[in-house]
Amino acid sequence: MASKDIAPPVETVTVKVDGRPVEVPRMMPNWEGNPEPTTVLQACKIAGIEIPHYCYHPKLPVVGNCRMCLVHVGMPGRPGPDGKSPENEDGTPKIFPMQLPYEPQTPRGVIGCATTIIPGMEIYASSPETKEMRESVLESLLINHPLDCSICDQAGECKLQEYSYDHGQAESEFEEFKVHKPKAVDLGPRITLDAERCILCTRCIRFTKDIVGDDSLGIVNRGGYNTISTFPGESFNNNYTLNTVDICPVGALTSDDFRFQMRVWFLKETKSICTDCGSGCNVMIGSRENKMYRYEPRQNDAVNGHWMCDSGRLNYKWIGRGDRLSIIKDRKGKTSWPIALKHISDHLVNADKGSVAIVASARQTNEELHLLSKLAKHLDAITDSIPRKGKADHLMMIEDRNTNTTGAQLVGITSKRVGSKLSIIKKGIESGKVKTLIVFGEDITKHGIDTELLKKVTLIVSDILPNETTKVADFLLPGCAHAEKRGTFTNVKGRVQKFMKALEPPGDALSEWEFLHELTHNVSGLNGFKTIEGLFNQMAGEVEAFRDAELTWAKLGDHGLDVEL
């Protein structure tokens, strides 16, 4: 593998940050990942000092228009006619703190995001001069800001609020009326703009133009009346608009879906994976008291960077739907887990070899699919899953709308051609060879096996939402949404990533891996683990691709690991 080759030594430069010498690489990746000379802001970050900034974003082109990252720096003197740099009396290079040319005693700041470092440079990141610059910049940014934090959705995660608190001053010298700009502007179908709050950092414009490639946002009007806007009559409507809400450092761009729903400081954050397609974008679930309020993209440069698509982000409402399956049922009606599992185990133990078919869902986790495949191997059952295709877009959304197709293929539930064995299962039911059908999370009636056929077999169904298949199930086992359990998914590129539990499942609903573990144990006698960590580690030892990558639950970390496909 290329990454195991020894990398050439990195060329470094030594600069002083707050009087402390720090060695930093001479070149660092820019927003596109290409090497560019290291900037003051990056050097300070390496030194462990955060320079406040609004318009700078590591994955967007640098424009330097907010001026928040102003810092006072000192430069070594230029060589004179004799070719020697100016020196102090003790022979060290003389450093000249930058001053205004026409006002020599006034310190001059440089913007950290766009100033490249030179050897011997001194960065006064915490000096009184730098502090005064920040105070002045914040004061001018707040001139026309409405200061309506009490009704602003961004309050609590607002950079303007944070920096005003850390670097600003309490009193403003501004006495005039503030400039009023359009409020609650419907910028697009998912975005509302409050132009008064905007500090014109242009992050949204750059993201939309340079990342999405949809040049639909711009600034109109002049001077203090500058306003973010779309072209007249046009709507800000691509599949990535909601990322502008995330990168907006203030509350100017707000999500219609999250607008006035909950203050952010109440939200519990849980690391999870988006289930809208096979990309497996890393997300953060925001929930409060068992209600989910939003997804936010979670940075993972190997998968989704800082971004996620709108359709994925808004695909969570089904988790809290009122008609979720929450009662465990058998043929006679409501029952309980121990009774139902005993009946199912007895049924499967007595089933003839080859008389069982399993239709799993490629939206289930690796662990669940692995348990199902173990069960299938013991019962000599035929297994498959159901393909789910959608339209791909030019960035992150891909055609495969199943979250874990790769996982299903790796553990052996389905072949490369997902759904190719469905017709065999159908024929098996028709001929009476298949007497028991286990269906997980799919409405099989939409895929050729209709209700009449399903009445011929013992139907064991686990699902989250009601559908035609769950209506005719002999055993109905309510399952959990991904936000209600733990587990791992393998994305299309073979990255195994884990997700955490944010919510409690409704009613009787139980994580699929929990009851599958018990069922597999009862039927096959194979002992498993009662924890997801143990189960994953056991699976990692049994599935070839996972074993080759030497996966363990702990090693996955927050960002997952790649396996060879």
């Binding site: 009023h180 009007n221 006035f260 203050r263 109440f266």
Partner: protein, 204 residues
Amino acid sequence: MKVERAKLTWLERLYIPSILNGFKVTLRHFFSWKRSEVYAEKQSGYAAKLTMQYPEEKWPVPNGYRGAPYLVKDEDKNTKCVSCQLCEFVCPPKAIRITPPGQSGEVDREGAEKMPKEFDINMLRCIYCGFCQEVCPEEAIYLLKDYAITGEKREDLIYNKEKLLSLGGKDKRAYDHHSQDGVTEGIKKWEKKTKEAKAQPEFH
């Protein structure tokens, strides 16, 4: 040490003389009412030692007393609360529960942006600490002087938005201190902003 109880005589064991003795004291006070200290005080205007006819009569509640928290209205009888949920956040016994308005904002007048959809205070939980009043950026919640909170059911003691607003009513503190040069100009939060915006020339 064991103390021997004095042996009661036959008369003492009958108890009747003791009871009569007790009545004698009561009757003496009953007939000498005009000579009593209490009578003198009442005549001189001090009624402090008299029994107060609670709940018909109530104590005058001192200023600064922390009674039940209610939502107050401004001088135009408008809701002041903007549903920022800081009181809900700061409330130590978690007595306050606000339902945010969602995208519509639930506004009832021009220029307003956000108001609570539902605002519940569980008076059984409230400990009258006054944090909600202290934290409120809009001065919309005040601890007024009610201290006898009663109800027949637990549900009766969860006050909703309508009840809190009607109990709070127009409170002078909610707008009066914004006066300049002795003239009360009031807050008129949204109204002023809207006026200011309309007065501004359009720039393109």
